[in-house]
Amino acid sequence: MNMFLFAELTVPDPNVSVILPEMIVAVAGVIVMLYDSFFPKQRAVSGAIAMIGLVLSGIVLATMWGGNYPATSWNGMIAHDNLRLSFSFVFLFVSAMTVLISTVWVERENVPAGEYHALLLFATFGMMMMSAGNDLVIIFLGLETLSIATYVMAGLRRGDLKSNESSMKYFILGSFASAFLLYGMALIYGATGSTNLTEIAGKIAAPNFPVNFPALLLAGGAMMVIGFGFKIAMAPFHIWTPDVYEGAPTPVTAFMAAGPKAAAFASFLRVFVLGLPLVAGVQASGYLHESWTTALAVMAMVTIIVGNVAAIMQDNVKRMLAYSSIAHAGYALVGFIGAGMAKTDQARDEAIASVAFYMLTYAVTNMGAFAIVTLLSQKNDRRTQFEDYNGIGFKSPVLAFSLSLFMLSLLGLPLTAGFMGKILVFSSALGSANALVTSLVVVAVIGSAISAYYYLRLIVVMFFRERTTEWIAPKITTAIGAVLVIAVIGVFYLGLFSDGLIQRFSRPGAAAIVRAEK
């Protein structure tokens, strides 16, 4: 036994090629930081380095799809599967968009660009580790790397009280949530004797899994639900979201709503769906599975209702988008529960892919919407009330029509990305043919109907009302223009021609097979 342990310690399993995308992002972050300390205040350069790092990482990631890599490496700490690839793709997309959106704001507010871009890259690295981590410790490390970077980013507008409030709130509550998560992980370790998710799944599946451990397992699971629930802004752990989103600089809000949330979903999925599976005939896993799926289904319903109803009452566009992001976490949870309830491995993988795809559609739409909000908000985010959008429709048709398109996509109207995302998560959930899940889907549909009110409100305000005060259309910079073009094309592409992408997300080999056939 001792010999074995020794051997395991001395022969690690380094496989640099597997974590190359993560490393590229981290190295780019370090380069930005170093460059900034020697040549400060060169915003364009640090932004360019960040972009290059992200794009390069994306290219490497794309080549890994369907490539020949071991399922796990680094002694089982890093997983290589669909979940990791598709979610990492989402993170890189979100970060690249954030860099582009921030250009306006960095310029306007005179933000220390080097710090900002370095933090963004480290946050991205953290997110990628969260989706790749196959070990509770790696996941936690990724989460902390991400969180600490975002705490600082939320408070970057140092002179603004709201930004400070946002940062403090996020930091204190976030640390609290991390503690819950860590405690949960410790309890799971106590119950199973391992932090490795594959091993945990194996231990639970073992027919002789000790029956007196379910208490530890259940408590650990509950703690982790709280920890992750905070990060994805699931009701009732969502209270921080509106304040933090409103106070944070708009590009950072855009990033937080799409990136960290998706990252938390990735680890959440990996830990619960893959790490704590339902195993036929094993009582403990049955208890655990039933309790977390039921709890999540109920919380998802609450999340959808709270998010949508509260969003109706907002007069600030950023706060409205914050509540809408809570509602969208609820819709994504529908797919999550679908993955948890799936009857076959294939259905489970498809459900996981549907969540990843949903996060991608949300990211595309959301980044586009926030780009416009950033552009219109002016210094210190002064212009973010609904009334500030009065009658701008035909004064700035490009911005207004794009924003309307994004609102319709968030609403989930056909032909847009949002519709495809919703259809996928709903149908993967309905596939489990479970009464609770079916009622969850009905709640989600009713929620979408409610959301029509506040998404349309923005369109109504922009197009149907007349402007009473002076308004000068802001100049669309190249970077924002690029974001808009990508987002508009993305919304239609994902809404109409997403077939190939969905297949790629759900079956890693599929793309390779299709290519071979051609």
Binding site: E350, G393, F394, P397, L408, L413, P414, L415, F419, M420, I423, L424, F426, S427, L430, G431, A433, V441, V442, V445, I446, S448, A449, A452, Y453, L456, I459, V460, F463, F464, R465, S498, D499, I502, Q503, S506
Partner: protein
């Protein structure tokens, strides 16, 4: 020719989109908003001409009974296909759409001055969506077009509408979107029931689901079937609109710009009745038959209520809007009589309503452009000032009332004869409900004559009451030109309905048989001897 046969419908759907893109490009580079109407008109006329290829004799129906069918995989992950095709039921509606669009464009020749680019882009996109609705044979694709048609209309009402436009636009959107979301749940439900029972994996394909049902491989449990039926039916009933879901219609109609009202009346409302016939009748025949009495009751309430409310409207456009509620009640009545004649009449009345009410909205639009008011009390004696206008208006009103030899008569007559012979309502020794219903509907026709002719009297006859009306110009050539095809149709369809009815006959017959004589279906209603009006009509 093969290429055309394969892709004709796709071309019809995409051509307006191409037009919309070109409009945008044109505007971006040349900034000549005044030329855009020509571009739009060109594309709508072109689309109409292309749609005439649907008449082609060389077209052969596929195994499913649909012409110009196309079926290619779209999103494999959820098993949805881009499956489109036309049959007798959708054929005339597609033609009606492409026919009415150039007229709608012409009707706003001078009226839309602000933001013209967006206006024409939305009109073109609307045309695409409407054609898509009528030709899609995949439930998800159908839903997609059904929802997509909402957005352009929402903007048309909200931006170019009257004073109360925001309220009307939002109401229109929320009503229709709510109904269609329910339908979406039902569509997904059907997908899983299909997967469950056939073991072939889920499908949204209308033809596949229908075939499975006909073959007995797919049997809906009674309660589930009723829920699914209700979800579809409510979505369509809102669109029709059937009493009590009709409240969005007067607002939307009144506030919409003329082109919007014309399209709304002529085509958008037909999506509801079309959907009921295509999906509810075919997929849920038993439920359709069992609930027919509800629909018939609501339809006659709609007929009478619409007529009574129309009578007291001070605004001409609102009056026409309420007359739509009554007319669509007739269509529902005919459909749910489940007799071949009644259903044929319903389909025919859909087209009639499109032509006549479309023309009425155009005429109201003409006078509004001149006087910027639609209040009946502001007019009086217009016949002295605008004789031509008055003549054409009265002609159209008579067609709407159902004067013999004009189109309205044929539809209403068929519907009432059909209802008279219907077997869906119970016949007891004391009361024959078919007779009662037909009688009430007949009063509706009288009411229609009352409110329309009374309005005509107040607006056109007598002395000129307002000095402002003295100098009004009569119709110009553009206006006459765009009314002419509609007037021609009113006469043609009134005198010689055979070509129209022949096209729809087989489909209607199939549906009627499916609902009333389905294998294994129980028809416990007392068999009523058909009154032999049948023979003399044929």
């Amino acid at each position: 020719m093969d290429f055309l046969n394969d892709n004709l419908l796709t071309i019809l759907i995409l051509l307006p989109v191409v037009g919309a893109v070109l409009t945008l490009v044109h505007q971006a580079f040349w900034k000549q908003e005044s030329q855009l109407k020509w571009v739009t008109l060109g594309f709508t006329v072109l689309n109409f001409v292309v749609s005439l290829a649907l008449f082609s004799k060389s077209a052969v129906a596929g195994a499913s009974g649909f012409f110009f069918e196309k079926n290619v995989p779209w999103i494999n992950a959820i098993g949805t296909n881009y499956h489109i095709g036309v049959d007798g039921l959708s054929f005339w509606l597609v033609i009606l759409t492409t026919f009415i669009m150039p007229i709608a464009v012409l009707s706003t020749w001078h009226a839309v001055e602000k933001k013209a680019t967006a206006f024409y882009v939305f009109l073109l996109l609307l045309e695409s969506a409407m054609i898509g609705v009528f030709v899609s044979l995949d439930l998800l694709v159908f839903y997609l077009f059904f929802e997509a048609s909402l957005i352009p209309m929402f903007f048309l009402i909200g931006v170019w509408g009257g004073e109360n436009r925001i309220y009307a636009a939002v109401k229109f959107f929320i009503f229709t979107a709510l109904g269609s979301l329910l339908m979406l749940v039902a569509i997904i439900g059907l997908y899983f029931i299909y997967a469950d029972q056939t073991g072939l994996g889920g499908s949204f394909d209308f033809v596949a689901i229908l075939n499975a049902m006909k073959a007995g491989n797919l049997i809906l449990p009674a309660q589930t079937g009723m829920l699914l039926f209700a979800a579809f039916a409510i979505a369509f009933a809102i669109k029709v609109p059937l009493f009590p879901f009709h409240t969005w219609l007067p607002d939307a109609h009144t506030e919409a710009p003329t082109a919007g009202s014309v399209i709304l009346a002529a085509v958008l409302l037909k999506m509801g009745t079309y959907g009921l016939m295509r999906f509810n009748f075919a997929l849920f025949p038993d439920q359709s038959r069992e609930t027919a009495w509800i629909f018939i009751t609501l339809a006659i309430i709609g007929i009478i209520y619409g007529a009574l409310v129309a009578m007291v409207q001070p605004d001409v456009k609102r009056l026409v809007a309420y007359s739509s509620v009554a007319h669509m009640g007739f269509v529902i009545l005919g459909m749910f009589s489940f007799t071949e004649m009644g259903m044929q009449g319903a389909v025919y009345q859909m087209l009639n309503h499109g032509v006549s009410t479309g023309a009425l909205f155009l005429l109201v639009g003409f006078i509004y452009e001149r006087r910027h008011t639609r209040q009946i009390k502001d007019f009086g004696g217009l016949a002295n000032v605008m004789p031509l206008y008055a003549t054409l208006f009265i002609f159209t009103v008579l067609s709407s009332v159902g004067l013999p030899f004009l189109n309205g008569f044929v539809g209403e007559f068929l519907i009432m004869v059909g209802m008279f012979q219907s077997q869906v309502l119970s016949v007891t020794s004391t009361v024959n409900w078919n007779y009662v219903v037909t009688m009430i509907a007949g009063t509706g026709v009288i009411f229609a004559a009352v409110y329309l002719l009374w309005m005509v009297q107040r607006v056109f006859f007598g002395k000129v009451t307002s000095e402002k009306n003295r100098s009004l110009a009569d119709l110009n050539w553009r206006e006459i030109g765009l009314l002419a095809p509609l007037l021609f149709l009113m006469i043609y369809m009134g005198v010689y309905p055979k070509p129209f009815l022949d096209k729809t006959e087989s489909v209607v017959k199939g549906l009627q048989e499916r609902v009333m004589h389905q294998a294994g279906g129980t028809i416990e209603k007392t068999e009523l001897k058909p009154v032999s009006a049948d023979a003399e009509h044929k």
